[in-house]
Symmetry: C3
Subunit: 451 residues, 3 copies
């Protein structure tokens, strides 16, 4: 009895994992607890267990509730495929498809948030434990959480599978936790992929989190965590990576693709890093530092904003206009150094019409340091690639690779609002491209080549 | 029957995995397909399966053909050891060796490309599926693909095990695919490690890919992928990392060691990132951006070029001379920012003799931005460490650590050919070290210390 | 017999893994050797094996000795929890705790170094093999090594569980090795987490190594390795990451938290990279490049130094005063580019009293290049957050998030000692903040905003 530490959901004696894996896992967790009796004898603790989900389709109708440390839930496949492409394919074509659903070790989230209640009720995996110590070292690895469908969001679009709304969350950590790991997972068609509160030493590494309303949300407060080496892309309404009141967050080596209202949205985040990422967006506000976010380093990133090239999604956007700032900064002593920032857009799509898009906009705060950034702004003579195809891949790659016929686009490289002072702008735009009060901010223009 | 999702190649009832693991895996794949009958009932899909390769030696004489999504093939050990050192050790010494072959979960590629046919016939793992959707989420993890031997390549060297030629490929993905993962693998003594076409959201992460003719080749076109955190090193003929017509590729956190004709070779690659890597090479052309590669960010990388220190390989090189450019750029609006670039070489090895080596060479295109790079060029008074040893490790570490007796070497830090205009060069070389038309390019010299 | 390659420590027929897992693993290794008889027949080698440690508590009283290549030892959980918080919690409160020990697949290191002998005798896992070739591809994955307790260190503190001293090492690799992997592990309460000598192509990736005296020590010499994507934090006496006579080391994407006498300490390390990390420390000397460390690139990192906010540890520090340099450099041609460096401290804690803290201090050597760094130095009007709580998390997050009431602190941004010459300092401090001989070093001040 005591030595049982490996559980397979397909071999457990309570419930049917194909019908409700939630009931099965909760029963296994109860079993683990009954075995954790060996406390503090010969330094012996409560080592937890591993629950294995083989490749397969597992409906989840009962929320999994985790309140023990050292639990690892793992599968054998992240199983991502694009549900967005599938739901924007005419049904008649689907009949010829090899498969139409995500796969791997796949949890199908049938749970719905209870009406009028907290969003956590719509979470597939819910972690909560009161008291001391904080729950530690829960690990999620190598399986797929699939929200299955989005629903009509009353926006007037009446296009439910493109709404990025369904009240479902993949993993929800409700209170303080330490040293959690989320690795090798797939998340798809959830309104929220991962939501955590009061995170410490959290690692979100090498996952595939896409076609979710929001991908990663670190809420409340937290410290000393990393979001690294993931493929991420939220819907047009939400955040790819959001953090709140966080210190010491490291966001690096991620490839964050569209759509995402923001690729990075920091609220009150301080002394944190956004480095060596690749960001691609279809909207302004790719990176937002607000609510006094301070001492954030943004370096060695590639930012690209272009126009939505895929027909089915061209009716949607984030609502931010081109004067909002591709990078929007409200806070103190932030550093934006050595980034490549690219905007390529046909003038017909610029909002407000005729406006000169703003690349970096400092709205408030002091002491920000913007240095050695290369802005490239271009436009196309005529609309070519975006109307040609209904294929998401062809549209995106076609748009990405269109660099030959581009003309320069006039932009404001850096704009500092009058509420903000004492910033330093170096080698990040020519004299004509930078709008700021040069008497209260420091400026050195990028030298301009002769013609 | 339906619930079987875990296969062990040593427990399957068709074929002998030690004699031909290819036949075994193909038989397992056929079995998986017969079970995938549950399409679109209650949102249920075709979840795939996992095929496990325990530690052991498995010959592969039949090519594995993969045409189902969500298949994971995994082992328990990447098993790399240096076959190059072994094949350059006198046979008499080998008798005393503990072991002479790679190990782990090791696939021995006995397959050979069919004469006169496509190179894909020499692939151990061949992925191809026509129709929709693109094949998704195939995963390779934690095993070793060993090409065993190189063969005489008619170059006149008649040194077959150093030819980096054998027509073998580890993993070959022939057409469009989505969200593949290659993680924790070992690749050794293959002419091509990984070759893919039309990749989307591919992750090549934390692998050991070395002593292959070429390591990673992303061909055709593709987007939104990552090559991260690998140990990589191709042969003197080939590419460590090659990409073609790609947008949004993130290459970060890799340690790319010699030899490699190029560490990075991009053809028509746009809006991509090469950041926070460590590159070491023995030849010029460490990084090549050609065929109108544009808006590529190269930042926070360490580049080192020195001379081949190991006796057995000193007869080989890539053929590029020292005027070619350690970094060679042909394209527009690329950014080379905040790198450390080091060249250390005895003057006797410089080609053409007496030439002043070129560090960054911009051959064509406009709008490139080269800023804040530190070039360190040194030479040794006399040849010391390179002749002393037949040990690859001792030779390489000896050469690497030789920094005390170095004298400055005169180089051209940046050279812009006349076909290229409108580039901006800042803080990346003194006035005397930069060769360009200052009337059509912008320049700010790195300030020079007094003596 | 020959095909056995998967071992489970709980199913082996020698020893009791709960009482002494060392004896069990050594017996398994002996068994593996008896099966490795198939040398060089049909290219067949000695493929090794995998030893699995299920979740559970396993005492180790016999040192594991590894002398075969391709051995993988793996568990199902890194199992970290903070023993430091636990040991600084009043015993009466512990009675209400959910658990008090680390977990996962947990090895409890009961072994002690033999008195008067080499420190390697205190290692839980000891790797050593003489002869050729170097031992290759040993892998450690996904388990926990727990040193359990620290002991009185005769420092006069008489606070044994805060001494970071117990003579225990997690993994000790005594001689030359190739292509080892350490991934997904947890290390806690060891005097030394990982110690290796003569490493080549080592990968230390995605581990949790904290509350150890020292975390990672690469000794002797070595090359072409990577320390990536780890959560790391040593004790106040030791190194988070130490390397000696190393070439081509890549340290990237790590989140290194306090305490750590140094976050990075390089002795004679050359042509290596420290990029895209986040470092947090409570002392000067966060990064030390000494003993002629040369051509090291330090870029895109976030450095934060503040004062120890947690009551139980406020009696300890590293001993370095504020004139030592937050970054201390003794060597040639190093590059410090595009970093954010933050110091925030109340003036009462500055040592020597009244001193102006030094951020980057170049002690000796020539040719160092310091460019585009943003230093932010602040102080608080009054001590607020640090005295309020005994909770480590609340103290640290409270301190991290305290950015609103800060006043500027005068610091020396860069100080170059007279023994050092020919350095170049660009955009890394105002004229008043940089102390150097401007006749033998090059300088360009960061432009200062008007008031």
């Amino acid at each position: 009895m005591v030595s049982k530490k490996n559980y397979d959901v397909t071999e457990w004696n309570v419930g049917n994992p194909y019908e409700d894996i939630g009931k099965v896992i909760n029963s296994i967790i109860a079993d683990i607890k009954t075995r954790q009796t060996n406390v503090d004898v010969n330094d012996g603790g409560k080592p937890g267990a591993v629950i294995y989900i083989p490749p397969g389709d597992y409906h989840l109708t009962t929320q999994v509730v985790i309140d023990i440390s050292y639990l690892k839930i793992m599968g054998s496949g992240h199983g991502f495929t694009s549900s967005s492409i599938r739901f924007n394919t005419p049904p008649g074509e689907l009949a010829h498809w090899h498969e139409i659903w995500p796969g791997g070790s796949r949890v199908l989230v049938d749970i719905l948030p209870q009406s009028g209640s907290d969003e956590s009720t719509g979470a597939a995996f819910y972690v909560k434990r009161e008291g001391e110590p904080r729950i530690s070292s829960v690990e999620f690895a190598d399986f797929c959480i699939d929200g299955l469908h989005f629903v009509d969001d009353a926006s007037g679009h009446h296009d439910p599978e493109n709404s990025y709304t369904n009240g479902k969350t993949g993993i929800y950590v409700a209170n303080a936790q330490d040293s959690f790991r989320i690795t090798g997972m797939g998340f798809v068609y959830l309104e929220h992929g991962i939501t955590t509160y009061q995170s410490d030493a959290l690692s979100i590494h090498d996952n595939f989190i896409a076609e979710c309303g929001n991908c990663i949300e670190l809420r409340g407060s937290g410290q000393a965590s990393k979001i690294t080496d993931n493929l991420i892309g939220a819907g047009y309404k939400g955040y790819s990576i959001y953090a709140q009141n966080f210190g010491g967050l490291l966001v690096t080596a991620n490839n964050v693709f569209p759509r995402g209202k923001s690729s990075i949205h920091f609220s009150g985040v301080v002394r944190s890093s956004v480095t060596s990422n690749r960001f691609h967006s279809f909207y302004s506000g790719m990176l937002v530092l607000e609510d006094n976010s301070s001492e954030v380093l943004v370096s060695a990133n590639h930012f690209l904003r272009d126009h939505e090239p895929w027909l089915p999604m061209q009716g949607y956007d984030s609502g931010a206009d081109d004067l909002y700032g591709l990078l929007y900064i409200s806070g103190n002593n932030n550093s934006v150094i050595s980034n490549h920032i690219s905007e390529t857009i046909e003038t017909q799509y610029i909002r407000p019409s005729g406006a000169k898009p703003v690349i970096i906009r400092i709205v408030s705060g002091t002491g920000n340091f913007i240095s050695g950034n290369h802005m490239v702004a271009t436009t196309e003579a005529s609309k070519t690639q975006t109307s040609a195809t209904n294929s998401c891949f062809d549209a995106q790659v076609g748009a990405l690779l269109t660099v030959d016929a581009l003309q320069p686009l006039e932009v404001t490289a850096v704009q500092i609002e009058t509420e903000s002072r004492q910033n330093t702008i170096l080698d990040s735009g020519s004299d004509a491209q930078v709008v700021m009060d040069r008497t209260v901010n420091a400026f050195r223009a990028t030298p301009t080549p002769g013609l």
